[in-house]
Structures are given as C-alpha cells and as structure tokens.
C-alpha cells in the first residue's frame, strides 16, 4: 500500500534522486564510534542539532500558552508551570535545552578546533559556525526575558546596558532592541518575543542549511 503510494508519486515527479542524494554516502571508519571509541567527538555536531530540534518542538508547544504582553506573560508561564498537564516538562525541556545546546555547541567547536578541521578548504564553514554561535547567544538573551520575572527583567536591563557600550551604534542598538532609550517595558517584551520566535530562528535555519550543505559537498575532514 505504502509502496504503491510511493511509486505513484515517484512515477510522476521522480522523487527518488532527491532523498537518495541525502541518504547515500559512506561513513568513513575514522568518524565511526563502532570502530574507534574516541570517534564519539564527531557526535557533538549531531547532538547539537538534536537539541536544536528539541528547542524548536518544545518552543512550539510553549507558544500555545505563552502570552507576550507585560500583564499576562508571567501569569501565562506560571499557569503553564503549575496547571497545564506536562507544562512543567515542556518548559523544563526548553529551559534546560537552552543551556545544553550551548554546551554541545562549544564541545562541537572544540572538536573542530583541536582537530584543525576548520583549515582549508573548510574555512567558510567555520565562519558560518561563528555566525550560528552569535545567533544562539541572541536566542538565549531574548528568550531569558520572556517569562517576565524579576530576574529576567533585571538581567535584560544589564544586557541592554552592555549592548549600549558598542562604539558609535550602541545607543541606537539599545533603542532598537528595547523600543525605548530608557524604559524596559511593554515594547521590549514584544520585540524580544518577535526576535526570539521569528527573526533569529529564521536566520538559524538558513545558516544551518548552509552548514550542512557545505559538509556534504566537502565531506568530513580526514583522520589526524
């Protein structure tokens, strides 16, 4: 039945080459932990991606309850945490995932750095990686404000003051992020929400696509 459906579609639009292109490649011995246990360091990139997927899924469920305005944001998170079935688990996954993803990302970067895997011809992918790193920091910073509790509020104030220290554009940057030169308030929360949920994930998906396409084109770096 499934085979028939697949064949029906494949017959018309020839989809086999599309997924074959992604699925068919050999995993070399030196990156395969089944052959060399120390090759587990090659898992860190994949695990980073795994946690990113967890973040996206848990985040999608969080937005079912979260209300991005200063009257209700905290209350909606409190309600989710205390009343909604499994709400605590979903928020917990997003909360802890935000830290775990940074840990995995740093382990992955250390692997690439100490193996010299960033060297020619892979310099471009290192640069893409650095951009991804900044996006992840931005996601952490904007996400931290969203529960609108006291710690989030004052941490954001400190973060915005750091942004203000950027030479020349610092003041404008702070206003752009916070919606006001001095107030951390209603505008700040809605802007951070939009940045956290739309702008940065969009940029992240684009960069991850480039990251993975480059890896497939260049192959994984050779053994040491």
């Amino acid at each position: 039945m499934l085979q028939k459906m697949y064949d029906w579609i494949d017959d018309r639009i020839d989809i086999t080459p599309i997924w074959r292109d992604i699925a068919d490649h050999e995993v070399p011995e030196h990156v395969n932990p089944a052959h060399h246990f120390s090759a587990f360091v090659y898992c860190f990139g994949g695990l980073t991606f795994f946690v990113v997927v967890i973040q996206i899924l848990s985040g999608m469920f969080l937005t079912m309850y979260y209300v991005p305005d200063i009257e209700n944001a905290w209350k909606s998170v409190y309600y989710l945490q205390t009343e909604v079935a499994h709400g605590q688990i979903v928020r917990g996954m997003h909360h802890w995932g935000a830290s775990v993803v940074i840990v995995m990302l740093l382990l992955h970067t250390l692997r690439v750095f100490f193996q010299g895997a960033y060297k020619k011809p892979r310099e471009l992918n290192w640069m893409v990686g650095v951009l991804i790193f900044f996006i992840m920091l931005g996601l952490g910073f904007t996400g931290y404000l969203l529960p609108w509790d006291n710690k989030a509020y004052f941490a954001t104030q400190v973060g915005l003051e750091i942004a203000e220290q950027v030479p020349f554009i610092g003041g404008d940057l702070k206003t752009l992020l916070a919606g006001d030169p001095n107030i951390v308030g209603a505008q700040t929360l809605t802007r951070f929400f939009a940045i956290h949920v739309f702008f940065l994930p969009g940029a992240l998906f684009a960069l991850l696509a480039v990251h993975f396409i480059l890896i497939r084109r260049q192959g994984i770096s050779g053994p040491l």
Partner: protein, 92 residues
C-alpha cells in the same frame, strides 16, 4: 620523520630542521571499513540519541525550571544580595 640520535633541530628548539607540508591526507587514502549511512549507520545513531534523550529528560524532571516573582521595576532590592548566596533565588 627522523627520530632520536642524529635528529637535526632548528637552533636548540625542538622543531625539526627537516621541513614538510602540514597537510593531512584525504581519508580516501585510508580505504576499508566504511559503512553506509543509510540505513546501517543511522540505525545505530538513534541509539546514541535515545541514551542522550533519557539523560536530558531525567534532568528536566529532576529540576523544574525556576520562575521568580513577576517583574517589578521598583524592586531591585534582592539584587543587592551577594552573588552565590541563596537569596538570589528566593523572591517568591
């Protein structure tokens, strides 16, 4: 590389006088035990993912994420506590 007796160094450093390019061999130079990604490798890979997921879920279940009192711009008082003391987290 020449090791041990008779090895020539640059000055007294440990850097060999013999220069050679520092470019690793391509892994096609090491033929042999590769494994097909689809489906063989992927079927083992999700085992690692499952172990990781169990660990991660244990963390989330054991430690509910913190939520302090609602933001109050007029109440910065508790943030004068010394960092590392528990009062940093007790504003419920």
């Amino acid at each position: 590389m020449h090791k041990g007796k008779g090895m020539k160094f640059v000055g007294d450093s440990r850097i060999s006088a013999e220069r050679k390019p520092n470019i690793p061999k391509d892994y096609s130079e090491y033929p042999g035990r590769t494994e097909a990604f689809w489906p063989n490798f992927l079927l083992k890979e999700w085992l690692v993912g499952a172990v990781f997921l169990v660990g991660f879920l244990s963390l989330t279940v054991a430690h509910p994420s913190p939520l302090e009192g609602m933001a109050d711009p007029t109440n910065a008082a508790i943030y004068h506590c010394r960092i590392g003391t528990s009062c940093f987290y007790t504003n419920y």
